[in-house]
Symmetry: D2
Subunit: 344 residues, 4 copies
C-alpha cells in the first residue's frame, strides 16, 4: 500500500518537482493535486514532461480527496498553509508546508518579515523545522513539518559542524549566497524573464531577505546563543542550484576543522564533504537531493571559507520534503531520492 500524497498548489516548480520525484518513489503516490487556476486540466498539459505518464487532473483546493491522503504538501504562497493545516491535522492527515508559514518560531518576528498576522500561533509551537540532518528524531514524530527554505538549507548544513563544536567566532558570519532563477517561482514576472536575467548576475534584497531570520534562528538554536550574520543573496543566470560561500573566523587557527565536518556527516546519505582542494559545483547536485560541501582555510587572513551547493528545488524544497515524509512514515530516509545529479 503506497502512501497517498496530496499536493496543494501544484502549479509551480515545487509542484512539478514533487510530482516528478514521487512518481519515481516506490512507496508513495500522488492521489490529489490542486490548483485554483488550473482546475480541470491534466497535469501533463501543464507539465509536458509528464505526457503519457499520468492521468492526474488538477482539482480545486477544496477537493475531498485531499482528506483521504496520508499526507499533504502545501506548495503555496505564505499565508495559505497556516489557515488550512489544522483541518488536515485534525483528520489525521500529516502536513508538510514547503512555504514559510511555520518556519519562524516567533509569530511576531514572522509578521514583521511576511507582512501579515500569523493566524495559528499555537501550531507554530507544534511545527517541527524539517532539516533532517539537524532534528531527525523530532521530524519522525511530527504531524506538522515546516520544510526549510532553500538558502537556509545550504547555509545550515555548511555551518552546523562548526557551531556545534564552538570552533568559530559566531559574532561575525558572512554568507554570500547565489541562487538559480527557479527559486523565484513560475509566476509571470518581468523580473525573471529570460531576457532580464540570462547573461547577467546581480545581488538582490541586500538590505534584508526573508530567509535571514530563518537562518539566524536555526544557527542560534545550534549555537545556543546569539550570532552575528550578514547574508547577501544573488541571482544566477540559470535554472537550478544554490551555492553558499561562507566566511568565518576560527577561534583557534591551529585547529583542523575537516574532521569535524567528516564526523558530523559520516552517516548522512545526503551530505558529502569534498576532498581537500576541490570545490563544489552546483551542477554536481542538479536534480538530486545531495548537498556537497568544501572547506578551505585561508591562512594569511585566518578565514575559514565553507562552500556548499544544493539543488534549490530538491534538497532546497521538494526533495527535502519527501525526505521528511519518509521519516514521518518510518520509511528508509533515502527512499525515492537516490537520483544522481544530472551532469552535464
Amino acid at each position: 500500500m503506497k502512501i497517498k500524497v496530496g499536493i496543494i498548489g501544484g502549479s509551480g516548480y515545487t509542484g512539478i518537482e514533487l510530482l516528478r520525484i514521487i512518481h519515481q518513489h516506490p512507496l508513495a503516490e500522488v492521489t490529489s493535486i490542486t490548483s485554483r487556476a488550473l482546475q480541470g486540466k491534466k497535469i501533463s498539459d501543464v507539465f509536458p514532461n509528464m505526457h503519457g505518464l499520468s492521468e492526474l487532473v488538477y482539482s480545486l483546493p477544496d477537493d475531498k480527496a485531499l482528506f483521504e491522503c496520508d499526507i499533504v504538501f502545501f506548495a503555496t504562497p505564505h499565508g495559505v498553509a497556516m489557515d488550512n493545516a489544522e483541518s488536515f491535522l485534525e483528520k489525521g492527515v500529516k502536513v508538510v508546508d514547503l512555504g514559510a508559514d511555520f518556519r519562524i518560531n516567533d509569530a511576531d518576528l514572522w509578521s514583521d518579515w511576511y507582512k501579515m498576522e500569523h493566524s495559528q500561533p499555537s501550531l507554530l509551537e507544534e511545527a517541527v523545522y524539517g532539516q533532517p540532518e539537524i532534528r531527525r528524531d523530532a521530524i519522525k514524530n511530527a504531524r506538522l513539518v515546516a520544510n526549510p527554505g532553500c538558502y537556509p538549507t545550504a547555509v545550515l548544513l555548511a555551518l552546523k559542524p562548526l557551531l556545534e563544536s564552538g570552533l568559530i567566532d559566531i559574532s561575525n558570519i558572512i554568507a554570500d549566497c547565489k541562487s538559480g532563477a527557479s527559486g523565484a517561482g513560475r509566476i509571470a514576472n518581468q523580473a525573471t524573464l529570460l531576457c532580464e536575467i540570462t547573461e547577467s548576475f546581480k545581488p538582490y534584497a541586500v538590505g534584508g531577505h526573508r530567509h535571514f531570520p530563518e537562518i539566524k534562528q536555526e544557527l542560534e538554536l545550534i549555537a545556543g546563543k546569539p550570532i552575528g550574520l550578514t547574508f547577501v543573496p544573488h541571482l544566477l543566470p540559470m535554472i537550478r542550484g544554490i551555492e553558499a560561500t561562507i566566511y568565518v573566523d576560527l577561534v583557534d587557527s591551529s585547529v583542523n576543522v575537516r574532521p569535524y565536518f567528516e564526523n558530523a556527516y559520516k552517516n548522512e546519505e545526503f551530505v558529502k564533504i569534498l576532498p581537500e582542494g576541490t570545490y563544489p559545483e552546483t551542477r554536481s547536485v542538479k536534480s538530486s537531493n545531495y548537498c556537497q560541501i568544501s572547506i578551505q582555510y585561508i591562512e594569511h587572513s585566518n578565514k575559514l571559507v565553507i562552500m556548499s551547493v544544493i539543488d534549490n528545488l530538491v534538497k532546497g524544497a521538494a526533495g527535502q520534503a519527501i525526505q521528511n515524509m519518509n521519516l514521518m512514515f518510518g520509511l528508509a530516509e533515502k527512499e525515492g531520492l537516490t537520483q544522481i545529479g544530472l551532469l552535464p
Copy 2:
C-alpha cells in the same frame, strides 16, 4: 544477479550518462570502466556528481575485468569498436557500440564518410542497427548492436509511420535539425567553449554530415526504395536536446495522418504523440529516454510538418543503448529507464 556491464572509453558525456543510468538500474551494474587518459582515477573525481556514490576507478582499455562482463558498451571515437568488438564476442560478451562503426551497412560508404578503411566488414553484416522501435526482434537476438546516432533517432522516429504507410512523397524530405552542444563531446575544443556558442545559433556541416548516410540508409530500408533527403544540422546554445523539424509532401492531402502515428506507437513506452495543436519542447524529455512527436498539416502549402524531440545523451545515446541491453538480456524494455524529464 545483476548484469555486469563494462564501459570502454568512459571519460566523456556518453560515459557519465551510462554510469548515471546504470547506477539507478535495478538489474545491472558497471563493473569495469576504462579510459587511457584517466587510468587510476576515481570516477567521482572526474564526475563529481558521483561523489560518495561509487568507488569505481578507471582502468586501462586492456582491463581483464572487461572480459568477465556480460556486455560491454563502446563509448569511443569511430575506429575503436570495430577493431576490438570481435575479441569480446568470441568470449561470449555482448557488444553495443555507441559510436558509428557498425551503423552503415555498406563498408565502402562508411569509409567515404569516416575517412578510414573498415577493418571488420564481416561484423558489419552481423551487427544490428539498434533502434528498438524499428527492429526490436533482431535486437533481442543480437550479439552486436550498433547504437543509432542522435540525429538519426529523432528523424527516424518522426518518419517511420509515414514511410511504412506510403503517405508521403519520399523524393523530397527535408530535415532541419537542431542539437545541444553535448553532442560535440567533452574533448577540449575551441569551437564548443561556452563563450563561442552560448547566446548564439548556427547551422553547421550543411554540405554534408556523417549522420546523413545513416538516416538515408534506415529510411530507405523502411520505404523499400530510394529516398531524397536534405538534412541540415544546427547547434543550439544549450547542453542537451535535439529537435527535428521535418517537412514532407502528402501524396493525398485528404488523408489524416494522425491515426497512423498513434497506431504506430500505441504500444511503445518511449515514443509519445502530442495532442493536436501542441508542439514539443526539448526540455520535456531532458534526462529521460522519451521521444515526443507532434504533427501539423499546413493546408496552404500542402506540407506536413513533423517535429520530434529527444535528449541526445539519453534516447540519442546512453538510454537507447540500455534499452537495447534490456532487450538483449530479456529484461523489461523500460527497466532502469523510467526517469521523467527534468522540468524546469
Copy 3:
C-alpha cells in the same frame, strides 16, 4: 541641429534599443519618450545601462513635446499606431511604426491575422514597407514607414536575389526560422521566464504566425506572382538573434547562384555574403545592424539552402527603423549604425 525623435511606448526592448542606438547617433536625439505605465520615471531607473547618461523621463502618451519632434517611432502593440499616426502626419511629423499596423497592404487580410478592424485603410495605401534594401527610394520620400517584422527581414534579404532573377521554383519555399526570446517582448509572461525557455528549444505557432502574410506579400511583390511558402518559427534559449534556414529548388541546377547574391548586395552596407563553405552565426551580428547570408547548394537533392542571420532587435527592429529615418531625412544611410557585432 539634431533630428528630434519621439518614442511612443518606450518601455520595452525596442524602446531601450532605440534609446541606445540614437544616444550614439551623431545627428539625432530623443527628446520625448512615453509610457503610460512608467510615466514620471527616469529612463535610467527603468534601464540602468543608461544610468548617468541621460536625464530623460517618461511622459504620458499625450505629451505635447511629441508634436515638436521631427519624427516619432511607435514601439507599441498593434492597434495603437494606426489610431494615432494621422495626428502626427498632419502636423508634419514623420512616423515610423515598429509594430504591425501598416505592414499588410490588404486591410481585410490584416484584420484576419490581427483580430481587429483596421481603422485607417487610407493610410495603409500611403505607408511604405520599410525594407531599405528593397525599396530605398520610396522610403526616402515617405511620411509613414511600416518597419518590417524581424522574421520577414531575415527571410526577405535571403530570398530577394533569387526571386528577382527567377532562379527558383517559387511554389515551394520552406523557411525554418529561429528567434531569440527578446522577440517576445518585455511583458511579464510565464511562457518567457528564464526557467521556461533556457536550456530548451521548441517550434511554436506552426499552424500560422502573423509574420507569414507579411513575408508572403513581400515575396510576391518581388516575384510578381503567387508563391508557395511554408514558414515555421522556433524559440531559441537566448536573448538576441534570428536565423533563417531556407530551402528552395533551383529551376536550373547548373546555375551558380552565388554571383546573383554578391551582385544584389555589392553596394549594401548592411548585407554581407559569407565565403563559400562558411555559415552564419547569430552572434556575429549581435548588437549590430548587419545581416549575414550564406548559400549552400546540396547536389544530391538539388536543394539550395540559404541561411541568414540578424539581430532581431537591431536589423529586425530598432536599427532598421533608424536606417529608415536616415533615409527619410537624407542622412547617410549608415549614420549611427556602425556598431560591430559583440563577439563574444
Copy 4:
C-alpha cells in the same frame, strides 16, 4: 592623423575586443595585428563579426609594421610582454601590457605567483599600473602601462573611496567575486566548454588566485599600510561580466559613506554610483567601459556591503587599455569608449 595601433597576440577575446573598440574609435586605427597561429588569416575569417568591415590580416609577431605604430598592446600570456617591451620602448613606441607582466611591483612576489623569473626588473620600476581613476597623471606621462586585471579593477574601484578616507577596518576585507567565462580566454580547454559550465556555478582558486597579490598591492598603496584581504573568485555561467560583493567593517558606524563615494567619482566618466536601495547588474555594463557601484549598510551586523560590476573584457581589459591610450596621447579620456551597455 590617427594613432597607429599594433596588437600583439590578437587571437583571443581581448584581441577581438581591442579590434571592435578601436574600429569605432575616431582617432585610432589598428595597423598591425599578430598571431603566430593565425598568421596569414584575415581577421574577419577568425572573427566573423568583422566580415566586410576590415581587410586586416594576421602577421607574425616579428612584423616590422609593429615598430611603425605609435603604441602596441600586448594581449599575450604572461612572460611575452616583459621580454619584448624594451624593443618597442627604445624605438619610441609606447606599450600597454594587458597581461600580468608589469602589474606586481615586487619581482620576487611576481615570480612566486607566476612561476617564472621576471626578466626585466628595471622596467617594472618604470611601468605604471594603469587604473586611470587611481593614477591618471602618471599614466599620462607613461611609456609603459600595466593594464590592471579584471577582478582588481572591480575591487579597487569599489574600495578606493573607503581606503582613502580611512573609514573602514582594513584588516578584514572580504571580496566575494564572480566572473563570466570570457575571463578564461579562448584557448581550447575542457574546463570552459559550454557543457561544463553553463547552468552551473562554482568557486575556484579559493586557496589563492593570481589577482590576489595585485589587489593587495594596490589597496595597500592607497591605504598606506598593510591590509587583510580574503578574495574568493567564482565562475558564472555566462560570457561577460564581473561582480564583486565586498564586506567591510565600518570604523565608525554613524558615518554615512555615500557622500565619500559620490565625491570620489563625481568627475569620473566611467564610474557610476547607483541610487540607495538599488543594486548593480552585470548586464547594465555589458559591452561598455562603465563600472557601476552600489553601497548598502547592514545595521544589525555593522557591515558595509559594496557591490561593483564591470564588463571584464572592456573596463576589465580592452576598454581600460584604450582609456589608458587616450590618456597617454592626450586625447579626451572617453574618446571611442562611449558605447552604452547592451541591454537586454
